[in-house]
């Protein structure tokens, strides 16, 4: 009966949306590293810890402040709630229950409550014995009345800061990473301290005329000397003792520099990762951005245009040189191999990126990155650079939407220059947008002034524009000549005067930027007017 009730309850929790929302909220508040809520909460907790410790220190020598008892109680309640909530978040008990129950159902055996309960219990126990949970508990326990003597342990609350401050967390991580080196060093120090303590005790004990009364004094002297602090309250008098001192000082200098170098290298190693993490978190805040794989000459050129148009982007390049260049240009950059799933995922291929550009000079890399991107995100737009003709097919095969060949375009332009120098100048002018002249498209909006209007009535010449053609997939136009298939639509070159514009048709115009912008503006305004 009890078993059934518990199972019923577990299913109730699973289906209850309010429970899920509450849990999600708690997760965002306490554990989710990406949430803004957690950042505010951490700040609040840091303040709380600092205040409570400050109060403790203040009250050592001063009469208690009124309401301090209240404050202390509130702090403890907050800590307890936090401690319990974290335990609650640590594992989903109802899921474990349901899983066990369903397995029993499937196998047709009798469901026993004992098994899942032990699993749940052990997972919660794991939480209780995790280092952070122990710190949390130590921050709470000394406030319990019978343990008032342990009040001094309230200082342990400062350890709680580790949880909330990322930099402190990082420091402990760095130390943990260098466990092996630090352990070796500790063994080495212990060994020499033992030798020097016994030696100095032998040479400098009181019967001999020295100042070392017992072994603790010897150890004290050894540590003070080895750390190169050297208080001088105990000094060796005998030649033997002095030799010990000399050796120990030299060893001490070595040990110190070794220790420093371990910490420094650990931090430099970590620095890279830290910087990368910052890039990732910045990328997470972006939306509708573009991933550029390869910051060579082509990548730089694309980035320059994006800067101009304030389009957000992130660069992935595995070469140190390009990475540094990107940093210098104030770009978001990740120094890594873009063909790895993890790198692309971290760069946000599934979180707001709208296109991936493969712009490396190496076709093999481009193919690989294209394949990886397409595999990770079937929807995303992929534009890839191909340096050799034969690789176009491969790039298409692995899922590139557009392929650009830098050498082919330049070859075409160069060849054009030989035959028709002036025409090629015009082409250069258009593609480089010289003198503000460019080709642009304008969509015919619904209910606008130019819908259902004949070309001759628009008078492009007066607007200082040249109409090159119209892109459309409307059936009404399909009897016309001068049709060219462009993707799945038709491009009508030089449409005649009788061409009747339809909504959603796209005009392709050549002209100065401001004439085009002005025309666009007029059309858009007219479509807003209710007729």
């Amino acid at each position: 009966m009890l078993t059934r009730l518990i199972i019923h309850f577990a299913y109730l929790l699973k289906t209850s949306s309010r429970y899920q929302i509450t849990k999600k909220f708690a997760f965002n508040l306490l554990e989710n590293p990406g949430s803004r809520l957690k950042r505010h909460f951490d700040l609040f907790m840091i303040l709380l810890v600092m205040l409570s410790v400050f109060l403790l220190i203040y009250e050592i020598n001063n009469p208690p402040i009124p309401y301090s008892e209240w404050f202390e109680n509130i702090v403890v309640v907050v800590f307890i709630i936090e401690y319990i909530s974290r335990g609650w978040l640590y594992s989903d008990s109802h899921k474990i229950l349901i899983e066990h129950y369903e397995r029993a159902q499937y196998l047709g055996i009798k469901f026993q409550l004992r098994k899942p309960l032990t699993t749940i219990f052990s997972s919660k126990l794991r939480y209780i014995f995790s280092p952070y949970a122990i710190i949390d508990l130590m921050a709470i326990l000394p406030s319990y009345w019978p343990l008032r003597i342990l009040r001094i342990f309230l200082v342990f609350r400062l350890f709680k800061l580790v949880r909330y401050s990322h930099s402190v967390k990082l420091f402990t991580e760095v130390l943990a990473n260098k466990r092996f080196e630090l352990f070796t060093l500790a063994m080495f120090i212990g060994f020499w301290l033992f030798i020097s303590s016994t030696a100095i005790y032998m040479f400098e004990n009181e019967p001999v005329g020295g100042q070392v009364r017992h072994l603790f004094d010897a150890l004290y002297w050894s540590v003070v000397t080895m750390s190169t602090v050297g208080y001088g309250d105990i000094t060796p008098q005998t030649p033997g003792g002095r030799i010990v001192a000399l050796t120990l000082i030299i060893i001490g200098v070595g040990v110190l520099s070794f220790f420093t170098s371990i910490i420094v290298t650990a931090f430099t190693e970590k620095m890279e990762e830290l910087r990368e993490n910052r890039t990732f978190s910045e990328v997470e805040n972006l939306d509708n951005f573009i991933i550029i794989c390869g910051y060579g000459r082509v990548g730089q050129e694309v980035a320059k245009h994006m800067d101009k148009d304030k389009q957000a982007y992130v660069i992935i390049d595995s070469s140190e040189e390009n990475f540094l260049l990107a940093r210098r240009n104030n770009c978001l950059a990740i120094k890594n191999d873009a063909s790895k799933n993890e790198v692309l995922l971290n760069a946000g291929i599934n979180k707001g990126a709208k296109a991936v550009l493969c712009t490396t000079g190496n076709d093999v890399t481009n193919v690989y990155v294209t394949l990886t991107s397409r595999h990770l995100n079937p929807e995303i737009k992929i534009i890839s650079r191909a340096n050799r003709q034969e690789n176009i097919k491969k790039l298409k095969q692995v899922g590139a939407d557009f392929i650009v060949q830098p050498f082919e375009i330049s070859g075409l332009l160069a060849a054009e220059y030989v035959g028709q120098p002036v025409a090629s100048q015009a082409i250069f002018g258009i593609i480089n947008e010289e003198k503000n002249i460019l080709m642009e498209t304008i969509l015919v909006p619904e209910n606008s002034d130019i819908e259902n209007v004949k070309i001759k009535d628009i008078n492009f010449e007066k607007r200082r524009l040249i109409l090159i053609g119209i892109i459309s997939n409307k059936k009404i136009h399909c009897k016309r000549n001068n049709r060219y298939k462009v993707k799945n639509r038709q491009f009508y070159f030089n449409p005649g005067e009788e061409f009747l514009l339809q909504a959603k048709d796209i005009l392709v115009l050549l002209g100065r930027k401001y004439s085009i912008d002005y025309f666009k503006d007029q059309i858009e305004r007219s479509s807003l007017v209710i007729k």
């Binding site: 050129e301 060949q405 830098p406 070859g411 160069a414 220059y417 030989v418 607007r463 090159i468 491009f491």
Partner: protein, 233 residues
């Protein structure tokens, strides 16, 4: 069209694409490189090749610079090599058309100073195109079809010969789009100098002999129009 003698210095994927685009039946193309292996592949493909060191002026003369070569392409991968070649060639022949590619955008000005007529920055063009594909893929498509001539559409320049029927008419009277299915994009009006003017309705140009029209349209109609222009009265 007159046969042009073209020398391409440097054999690599880029110059390969260039040679593919050049009309080999109309022009005499010779490939010059120092690397023996590069040239073997080029020779295998049936191109005329010369293996020589471009740093020596005598060798350049042997290739024909200063004599019959009309157009020189500097397609080495290193900017410094292209620059050196440009300077040497310009010193030998004042009239030579020199077209160079450039890797570092900073070198573009230097090459122009050294005497190159045209600089091509493949990476810049490629970067622009990629960005266009993101921003407005339609335009990229249309450009591909029209000015890059992927289909039947082409850009062409037409010089007005002396005594052409078009002489002394205005550009606006041409009515190219209704009469020939061509679009007039730009004009070089001799009276205004060598500069290119886009015909975006800012100014009407009177046509004289020697003016050049840049038109866009299907190749058949371009040929038809050319014939008409050259019709002697």
């Amino acid at each position: 069209m007159r046969v042009k003698n073209i020398a391409v210095f440097g054999y690599n994927p880029m110059s390969f694409e260039l040679i593919k685009c050049l009309d080999l039946e109309q022009h005499e193309v010779v490939i010059v490189d120092q690397g023996h292996e590069n040239l073997i592949t080029a020779a295998d493909l049936g191109f005329t090749v010369i293996e020589t060191d471009y740093r020596n002026d005598d060798n350049l003369e042997e290739v024909g610079i200063g004599r019959h070569i009309d157009v020189l392409f500097c397609f080495f991968e290193e900017d410094s090599n292209n620059l050196f070649l440009t300077i040497s060639a310009r010193a030998m022949d004042k009239k030579l058309e020199i077209i160079s590619i450039v890797d570092d955008p900073e070198s573009a000005d230097k090459l122009l100073v050294a005497g190159a007529n045209k600089i091509i920055d493949p990476y810049q063009i490629c970067g622009r195109k990629i960005y266009q594909l993101i921003k407005n893929p339609d335009i990229a498509d249309v450009l591909d079809h029209t000015i890059f001539g992927r289909h039947d559409l082409n850009t062409a320049e037409i010089e007005i010969p002396p005594d052409s029927p078009l002489e002394n008419t205005n550009a606006s009277q041409l009515q190219l789009n209704s009469r020939y299915n061509l679009i007039l994009i730009a004009i070089v009006d001799k009276e205004l100098g060598k500069e290119l003017h886009f015909t975006i309705g800012e100014q009407d140009h009177k046509l004289d002999a020697g003016d050049i029209l840049i038109v866009l349209g299907p190749s058949r109609q371009i040929r038809a129009f050319k014939k008409e222009v050259e019709l002697q009265t």
